[in-house]
Amino acid sequence: MVFDAPRWRAVTRGMATVPSELWRDLNPMAGAPLRRWHAPRLPWAGWLPHTLVLAGAVVVGVLAWRAVSSAAPDAGQGAVLLGALQGVPLVLCLYRPMAGWWVSLIAGMLVSEVSRAGALGPVWAEPAVLAHLGVLALVALRTRPRVLVEMWLLTLLAGAILVQRMPAGYDATDLLELSALSAVALLTAGALRGRGEARRRLAEQERVSATERERRAMLEERSRIARELHDVLAHHMSVIAIQAEAAPYRVTDPPHPLTRSFATIHSHATDALIELRRVLGVLRATEPTAETAAPIAPQPTLRDVDVLVAGARAAGLTPVVAVTGTPRPMPPGLELSAYRILQEALSNVMRHAPGAEVDLEIAYQPSTLRLRVRNGPPSSPPAPSTGTGHGMLGMRERTAMLDGRLTTSPLPDGGYLVTAVLPERKGEGS
């Protein structure tokens, strides 16, 4: 083999970190407490694992005490102490897994050594085997595979030390037994942990992607709203531009300051339009779909509600429209939003209550516009919902934008009611 200096250095450097890595893995303070069992249908079962472990600890402690006192009848208090020492790690494990494991290893060695009393016998005393297997399993539920391997090897090492103190003639079969048993315990518990971990990650991922979906839906809705509003704004601006340009022609020989003033208005309107076109370009570019493509119809207003209602009728609903108060032109942004809210509400009815009766009310109140869409129960069962909740989101966003109020509630008869109150903001003041 060719001596490869850099690789060798890398290996020695790697070796140098082994003790500190080991210490980090096996530090008695490492590891997290055992979580309460999560069983939604059995709320009382949360502490069940802890209780069982406690019972097991008592049993193991008693067994150890009896093993020690039968091997060394004059041990007295010492036997009780050793028994307790053998039981404690199981409980300790619940809170400090690595500390529990260390105590279990040491207590197991002491109990085995004392109960064998210098004669030929099993390397590990029975209570020590039981306690240590339990501890290994409990730790493995909460630890990385690498640590499990380290624990298993150290346990083997401890067994080897015990064997060294054995009189001659020992055939080491039961050491192999414990090694195999502990490997099984570790593997089983490790696999359980891996499965739990995978499930937890999956749930986490699902939660994240649901939030992400929601966030994206909201952004899409907002950019749609922004697009429409900028569109309305651009039309206003072009009216301003044209009117400013036309104004001087309305009088013969307009005074110079007047024409100059109108020229200023025109040039500002033009600048604003350039900016607006830029913004609209950005808003359209974010997601080039059929919906964002250059529209060839004007943005809808409340006057277009008839078309909406006709569409709903064609889709099998029986809509009735009531207009209360005296209709008056509202700010275009409000009219557009009102139209969209009615549109979303109707399409929700189509989705969730096909064939239902629908009452639409458009109430022109002194300083607000109130929209109510009430539908009865579906006449045929609705198709499984495929909606993304986009509709409701859109209604909320639009209402919020106008400082309005949106309430939605199911009705006792199986129907649904959507109410939006949109304050009318006049040009002056706000």
Partner: protein, 221 residues
């Protein structure tokens, strides 16, 4: 001779403003107004204006479809599209529909009235910026349709050369300078090209030049 104009826009304030602007010109007369695409088609047929100022986004029938119907019916009016947006799709579709020009609503009164005169005279209103946009739109569409490559055979070499220059967005004067001929000669060539290829105006000539691949849009617009 006065140029008779029909104004089609769904916003009354726009129609009114444009009417005031145009009526102030000695050589322009407002023949009528239309509030949607359907009215625009009907009134063009009835009033036979020289120029139709056409908004794109209108209820009932949009301006693009109205333009298509007017040119397909062979009505006299030349369509000058006047819109709030300078979207490439609009420019391209408007010219494909048979519009003779494309202008933004915030154009100044002078630009607007000049545009009306240019379009009425049969010249297309294709500002260099619009031509550039057209080129990039063709680049985006990529595939060159070759329905009428054979049509080019009807042109003389000189006429093909002139058509190439028109497609580059050059005015008659610019073409004259470049080809070192008189502007009057260019005009004669242009009108022969339009007759031979059965084109309404210059804008259609540009569209054709790109569609048959006479001019290749730059690869990187």
């Amino acid at each position: 001779m006065t140029i008779r104009v029909l104004i089609a826009d769904d916003q009354a304030l726009i129609r009114e403003g444009l009417a005031v602007l145009l009526a102030a010109q000695a050589d322009i007369e407002v023949a009528g107004e239309a509030a949607d695409g359907r009215e625009a088609v009907d009134r063009t047929a009835r009033l036979q204006p020289d120029v139709v100022l056409m908004d794109i986004r209108m209820p009932v029938l949009d301006g693009l479809e109205a333009t298509r119907q007017i040119t397909r019916a062979g009505l006299a009016g030349k369509v000058l599209v006047l819109t709030t947006y300078d979207l490439d799709e609009y420019v391209y579709q408007a010219l494909r529909a048979g519009a003779s020009g494309f202008l933004l609503k915030d154009a100044s009164a002078n630009t607007l009235t000049d545009a009306v005169r240019v379009v009425a005279a049969g010249d297309a209103l294709l500002a260099p910026s619009i031509t550039r946009r057209l080129i990039s739109e063709f680049a985006r569409l990529g595939a060159v349709r070759a329905p009428a490559r054979a049509q080019l055979d009807r042109l003389t070499d000189r006429e093909t050369e002139v058509l190439t220059q028109i497609a580059g967005g050059l005015s008659n004067a610019e073409i004259a300078t470049r080809l070192v001929i008189a502007e009057q000669t260019v005009k004669t060539h242009v009108s022969r090209i339009l007759t031979k290829l059965d084109l309404r105006d210059r804008a259609q000539a540009v569209v054709l030049a790109y569609e048959i691949g006479l001019v290749k849009p730059p690869q990187d617009p």
